[in-house]
Symmetry: D3
Subunit: 286 residues, 6 copies
């Protein structure tokens, strides 16, 4: 996979972001103080002591194109790359007033997406030796799911379903409405597009047995202790080699290693997208 | 101020957020497993051990109205309220499938906005005894500035300018382009709408003198040590009682008290909106 | 599944459809000739000799609500129902001018969607005795995929993936780029969200062997003769009970029975959505 | 007239069509399997045995431009041209993954629009020797009226009014509300923009007499037998040479010739746009 | 015709207008000073000494509904009515802060639309005794054509074509491209939808002869002296009773009477929509 | 300040304006009469006897780019320039049919914006000798505030707040709700972003005293006689040198000079944007 996000995928988001910074009279400081269109040079650097992973660099280009086609950008790095402190990620040339208009919106994308990529990468480094994938969730910020889940990929993570529409996840309310675990699995298998897998969240070992019996494609072990998880994995693997086992709930950088040791396949982590702190980037003029 | 965010202000954001969760076939799990429209009861609770401040509750209502007018919500709390662990914030009645569709999108708003309100409140509690205001910045997530800055208010914080359009902030590039601090202030005073104040960011005591001479309305002390800040405050107050003094850069929960002691009026903190971790909320069916 | 399409899912489509009929001055005939808002009664009937299946009735309601809240509609049938010739599907009350504005746009949805439901139903009646599902494809009309695929469900059909985003389908170009069938399946299995199944289109028996070896979840037999299909089914079932087998290409009402006899699970048919003739409906005033 | 549809006229439709195929994660098959941007060659051919007329070729270009500016297209035919079986209509060069993303959306436009152009052309060939025009109606698919009516032109057909806004058509409800045929015609003549003609649908010879007396510009003979049509034409021509006479209702490829012989000027046919089957096109890589 | 403009016709315009007044933080004055939702009473009065004609009253309702459903409005007048100085046009009840938010946007519509209705009415009063219609043009403000042309109707005026799409007007460039007046008329008659009339602008008596020979439906006499107009009318009426004759160019309240005396049917006046001064309205709290 | 309006700021307005002129079938006259894309030459001239100031020239370029990239424009003047009668403002080259499509929409912007710039300039010429600024208001046309306020700058005027969001203006209802002038000023000062000035409208000398005591940044004297204004200015200047004094109400070209003589700083004039007559421009082909 080449780590790029295409312009047509996010152009409305970019326009919205520019617009919220420049309603009404636009940039009232620069328009009166920087009256000409002479070309200046600038660059963006990472100011994070360590562990930063880049995400969102293409978006800076799209923002600049939208604001002023006279701006040009030269990449010094790529999405997915690890960054040193004070490392430059791109050089920018263009009218100073235009660069100033593009600055904050561009940095807001990059600092947020790199924050997610960097946090993801810390989880991935722990899980990778166990062959376990770190997956995101639907716990994303409104309107930003596409870029946040792309940032998870940049950090080495793995995508879970995007929304309610591209993956089945049967939870307790669905089970209750359907009249039981087996009934739920069978009903969904009959009706849902045959192109998606059927995942079920189980809350105890009775439900686990039924999920195995129903041949669920993916079994989610939610909020289990590592001991119970290990026991569940053993039960599942004994009956159905191919079933994908996912762990979820109470996952953090401290508990992750013990979870990975249980033999599960995937760990899904809401914090990747709902609580990653921003990475510090700065745009400097030469 | 009543802490509400009106529906017309954020309806496009709400539609966008619903849409990213339910493209294509919509909720493929619930539509096949929960076929009827019988009324269920549910509630949302806060699962944060301590220090949570609520923000975004109205938005849950708007999301539910959009998805199914049969859903009704009863508030048990209000935006701006401090929440105990396991405290319920609202009761919900409606068709189970509709509630499930609204669940994640609603929680994504509330957990994020309450995260910002709660972090803001921690800063506010330190600064308030000194009569210092905690202000946000433009370092927000794309498309979310309106709700994030509303959340800052819920946490007891204060809003800085919304974007480039509703406040003047003269930075080094503007000064360079204008030919000096005084030239920049005078030029902007002549041209900009007379309804906005003129703020200037100064980097040393020479620039400070010029900013005072130019009668800047607001002087921003950026990345100064508390000692230099105190010195700067003394110089400004000696000449111009009314000038608003703002501190910025390297502000965190540890450094804040020392900064407040210097006598400044406002501290602006990017982390409020770019790095607040989410507060944990959960929707439970009865 | 209750066969309804929710208003928020298609409101933009409805607005667009109304708008293309009433740009500029709006309905220039009715606005000058029917000046009052007295309440008239009307109804919609099906004028198809036989075999019609209804789809799109909710949409008539949404269109009328958008044009004039004074219009009310009473359902006499439901989406998915078989219709007799001259059978009424709904009664309408409201101002005559408003009903006339809503008439053509409402009928355009119903006649097109019922056309798809009706054609689908003809395929389903042949395939059902063999336990074979009739599935749609991505060969839909621009902007109408959601309503067209909903109409397929109304006719008793089954949905394939909605778009490129919610199902994997590996075709010859993907195989060539990946360096072979096994390489393609393995690469996609490592990377793609674990919530979707992996489908591969195979063109001969060599590729079939590799697809089985790679444990593809779904194997598509494209443009094969019924004899070759039967042979392929036998090979697959001998090795992997669970694999879903899909037939595609050269499927019509005459060839369908022979295809179904081969033991495949699903037949996908582009014509359901790209070539279904409209069903004739008419709105009559009382 | 040059048969082109300009990009600005349909860009929103194109964006909507691309978007419904690539929500969420986009093309999940190609993005993981075709990682580079090397240039491939492909072409689109018509696979219809006979009678196909091309429409929509420009749209393929606009879709490709939107998805990836690295794609270039060379036309081998033009909208309005008759196509032989297996005739190529364009050559395409660009990154394989980008071409695959553009493929289905492009073909969906071309197959549908060419379907309409081809069916229109069959009607036109029958009517042309009699100097009769074949016109479309408002029985179009939602949101597609512009492209469908353009396709009618490509097939040699003629456009009726686009919507309710650009032509007057007085029907029975209007006559009833106005108090009679003459009253309706006079009232509309007084009020409606003087730039549109006044058309009236008549149901018997009494109404015909009044329509002639009222000097209607266009008289529509709806669902009349050819014999009655011929009689009506004779009556009209005897009194008002210039009146345009339109036939409508129960028109198909079998009944058309008899209708044309009656001396009417225009025949309007709903089936052109509501029931034209798709023409088969295929994109092949070299 | 009832003079109302339906909500669905202008809702996007209303949302846009509200939005340009309340971006960013919204109404920063009222939200901090009027914290409760107690119900206040207000009314809108006309402050124009004489000659005011009302237009746009429905729009005030739609704006208030959008901002706060707690606002209710009672009409005291109707669109198209003549207003006395200080006459009240509606009573308003609702939360004071909500009324203040709706005030300026509502008045901006009403003052502008009533300005157009009032100016139109002054032209209509001069022309009506001669049986001449006063028509608008396409010289409208961007995005406001629908409401401006509706205002012309409120003032007693008549609508010309809405845009380029619903009426033919052949000008000198079209004549040159087609190779002559007759060629242009014949070519357009063959191709254009038969539902629109054919209008031609002629610049001298040679062109007039050809336009009559070509049986143009409408002949526009552009920038002619009243003497030449009278001569042209005589020539046209002598040959083709039914032709509609339109005068245009250099029309104002002083020249209008002489133009009307020439026997033309319609006078089109750009100033109605491009230069009407606003009528003064004021919202007062009780 | 360079007087340009950037494309991204107004592209939606431009698209909307083009669209209202070319719905449905588009330009039905030109598409049938001007079939080729040969390049023609044209130019736009000002036909105003005197006093015209140009505004909106960039917009013509953006409209042409949107309609047909084959059109090119060469500027002969700039926004803000004074124009002689019959002076050319730009040369245009491109396909004649495309220029005709762009003509009216371009002229509608330029004639309206130049109308505002020209009227503004007449006020500015009177006020400038007194060092008084002429400011606009929120009395603008719906959706056009951005371009109308830009036009005010082109005419030498000054911008007041853009909307309710970027400036505080305390009026009588706010004072009543807050419980008095001082209470209102103090409450707003505590809460509102510190980046905006606090303006208050006072209706008598008692309120004036309180406004001075509350240290309002801007005091608006509304509908005062020049004598009272002079008295108020004297009182304010005697206590607070820096307060900005704004006059409003009953301002026209006749009363302006007397108002300016009173010593106020700014005069705000609603008529600039709500009642400026259009300037006459014409597009001519060579």
């Amino acid at each position: 996979m080449i780590k790029i996000i295409e312009k047509y995928e996010i152009i409305d988001l970019i326009k919205g972001a520019i617009s919220e910074d420049m309603e009404g009279y636009g940039d009232i400081t620069s328009k009166y103080l920087i009256p000409d269109k002479n070309i200046s040079s600038a660059y963006i650097i990472c100011k994070e002591p360590e562990g930063a992973v880049l995400s969102g660099l293409d978006i800076a280009v799209y923002i600049c194109e939208e604001i002023d086609p006279m701006i040009s950008i030269k990449f010094l790095s790529d999405d997915g790359a690890s960054l040193d402190n004070m490392e430059g990620i791109c050089d920018i040339k263009g009218p100073a007033a235009s660069i100033l208009k593009a600055e904050r919106t561009s940095l807001n994308f990059i600092q947020h997406m790199s924050g997610i990529a960097s946090l993801t990468n810390r989880f991935v480094k722990i899980a990778a030796p166990f062959g376990v994938k770190i997956a995101d969730t639907r716990k994303t910020k409104p309107m930003l799911r596409k870029v946040e889940k792309y940032a998870v990929l940049c950090g080495g993570g793995h995508n879970h379903r995007f929304g309610l529409f591209d993956g089945v996840l049967i939870k307790d309310n669905h089970i209750a409405a359907a009249g039981g675990v087996l009934e739920a699995i069978n009903s969904i298998r009959t009706n849902v597009p045959h192109t998606v897998r059927i995942e079920i969240e189980i809350k105890d070992f009775d439900e686990l047995d039924l999920a195995i019996k129903g041949k669920a494609d993916i079994i989610m072990l939610d909020n289990m202790s590592p001991e119970d998880m290990a026991k569940a994995v053993k039960i599942i693997r004994g009956k159905q080699e191919e079933t994908i086992i996912e762990a979820s709930g109470n996952v953090n950088l401290k508990t992750l290693e013990d979870i990975c040791k249980t033999g599960i396949d995937v760990v899904s982590v809401g914090a990747l997208t709902h609580s990653a702190p921003a990475i510090d980037f700065s745009l400097e003029f030469e």
